[in-house]
Subunit: 388 residues, 2 copies
């Protein structure tokens, strides 16, 4: 049996993103017990830093001990009781996943749909709420499968008319790259993933839960269907009583703390600005090469950029060349967008001028080889101008 030595990659796909060497170093620290006083202190610090990141004062702000999708599941299984009416806004894979989980949780699902790559019509959402008066409205802030941003300010405006409806928001691909404004937009349950704009390895799902959502959970008639994700149990381990629930992933929490430390050292606003600028430079480069973005300008994510694959160009050939020759990973399309788009992540430590230029250069070189472009340079030059 030989040792595994991973190849070096530049991670510019839909996640994981590149991880800061300091975070990797934290992963390698010796273990301590999950009830060790030093670990309990670390848990307190993690909660404080997560609240700042989510822009919230919510007491219950903790990492779930599994990946981002388990954060999604934790939201629905805790909030839904069988028969509860739930409206899900769907314009990509993660909205679809939400709707799947709503049904598995016994919710009465109602769908508001938009085409993949497009934002939602707020009137359609309002009409749905008027008809169903759901207990929960669920939206994906940053749809990783399409690169579309849902504007939470608009959602909040609609929800002002429906004060009883809880707002549940998937922040997996925005948390740490865009402002998520949990308190500002009155989000009742938000969740993220560590491996996107937080640039920590995958394995934890930070969540934040409003007091009124906690009240809803505490007044459930039936137990939460998942023992592992039952927040009435999990909150006791993360809260004052420190009651044992499950063994926390110690090393992942070391890494989470270190990544949060790095995030707040940079500063949230500076970090969002960095994500914005690198996004603008990348788009300028792509458009200067004659390629098109999937999403219209004002609905674009900064962290996940979707580029239409030009006619006659093979997704597989380009991505294989990028990986094998340039060590760059980008993502392909999912579902109806398979073979139609590339998904370029500019997240956390991967959101860097250097990476934007590397990728544009590599893409131009490959597209010249594939006969789409006559020569190189236009893309990089356009991107460089954004950085001036």
């Amino acid at each position: 049996m030989k040792k595994f030595s991973p190849p070096r990659r530049i991670l510019m796909g839909p996640g994981p993103s590149d991880v800061d060497p300091l975070v990797l170093k934290a992963m390698a620290a010796p273990l301590i017990g999950h009830l060790d006083p030093a670990f309990l202190n670390l848990m307190d610090d993690i909660q404080k830093l997560l609240r700042k990141l989510f822009e919230t004062n919510n007491q219950l702000t903790i990492p779930i001990s599994a990946t981002g999708s388990a954060g999604m599941e934790s939201a629905f299984v805790n909030l839904i009781e069988p028969g509860d009416s739930v409206t899900v806004c769907i314009n990509g894979v993660f909205g679809e996943r939400m709707s799947d989980i709503v049904v598995r949780s016994g919710g009465d699902l109602s769908r508001v749909e938009a085409s993949w790559g497009k934002g939602f019509d707020m009137n359609a959402i309002r009409d749905n709420l008027l008809l169903n008066h759901p207990k929960i409205l669920a939206v994906v802030h940053a749809e990783t499968s399409t690169g579309v941003l849902t504007h939470l300010s608009q959602i909040k405006e609609v929800l002002n008319e429906f004060p009883e409806t809880l707002l549940l928001v998937d922040c997996v691909t925005s948390l740490g790259g865009h402002s998520v404004g949990i308190d500002q937009f009155r989000v009742d349950f938000g969740y993220g993933g560590t491996q996107k704009c937080m640039s920590c390895p995958p394995g934890l799902a930070p969540i934040t839960v409003s007091d009124r959502a906690i009240k809803r959970i505490h007044s459930r008639k039936r137990k939460v269907q998942s023992w592992y994700l039952d927040l009435t149990l999990v909150e006791n381990y993360w809260g004052d009583s420190r009651t044992y629930h499950h063994t926390a992933p110690i090393s992942m929490n070391y890494a989470l703390y270190e990544s949060l430390r790095i995030i707040h050292e940079e500063g949230l606003k500076q970090r969002w600005n960095r994500h914005h600028k690198n996004h603008l430079a990348f788009v300028a480069g792509i458009e200067a090469m004659g390629l098109e973005m999937l999403v219209r300008s004002r609905d674009r994510l900064w962290s996940l950029n979707t580029v239409k694959i030009p006619n006659g160009i093979s997704d597989g050939i380009v991505r294989t060349k990028l990986l094998e020759r340039f060590a760059i990973e980008i993502g392909g399309g999912l579902g109806p967008l398979k073979d139609k788009i590339w998904r370029v992540g500019l997240m956390g430590a991967s959101s860097q001028k250097k990476n934007v230029l590397l990728l544009l250069n590599a893409l131009e070189e490959i597209l010249v080889e594939e006969g789409l472009l006559l020569d190189k340079g236009a893309g990089i030059n356009a991107a460089e101008r954004i950085y001036v």
Copy 2:
């Protein structure tokens, strides 16, 4: 914000156990994508090594992307449909946890109980099966809360009379320290945790599923209630089609591979023998000090040793001294055994002669201070004789 630097501990509690520096180093390797060809190869290697560890040919042998308790939940939510009759053998916390999850999964629960610290009466199990003919019989191989081993050879003998009943076994605290014999004992669903006798950080739950259990899952009428743990989806990511389900915890899988490599380099039989010997030495030392083990000799786990706290001795004082003065973590009792026992883990990299002697020496010193012993030496000397 200052950097977190964990104190150095010798982990001799109920888990996590000490982690080999090579495994810690693997955790710090740079990230690659969860669909990277190099990662897909690593997944294949992990599955092969896990099969050897579980002593099985089961195709579906993979790590669940969460801790051991999620392994438990994955077993029940996949196998149970609402109304299914399930018998759970309960003689500690983890049997109780199983029964809780059975109810949350809609199962019709039937309990076979034994006192905490005692093994099961096989006739009681047989009587229950005759009465209920359950679809599933669930047992905890290694009850971490009490230190009791359930003898799977005896369970298999009873189940020979009930060929339709699936056998579900919790191997969290035995896997890697005791033989689990998944194929030999016809276990249909076994699960473990990485942080016990495998000496990998907590964060993954290896599972193994027999072909007949998979058939049962594939013929379900209702979807599995958990999307995250739905094996009909998870198996497609770990199987040939490599269909994206969730983002695998990359670094934890690096660590898992490295820990499996180390386990098989040592050899399973050698590893079990090592756990056995260190257990015998520890017990000899404890008894030579005049202390008593909770569990009778033939039902004792090698990996988790439970010692009765002598009358007049405070659990809290002893464990605090061990931690603060000797940097040794051991565990306290849970539920009815709180303040009544110490739980001493001799798991994986923590199961070492050096640690046994360190702990016996520290305990003797503290018990002399507390006025229970007149002088030191008897415990260590008795343990030393086992190693001769």
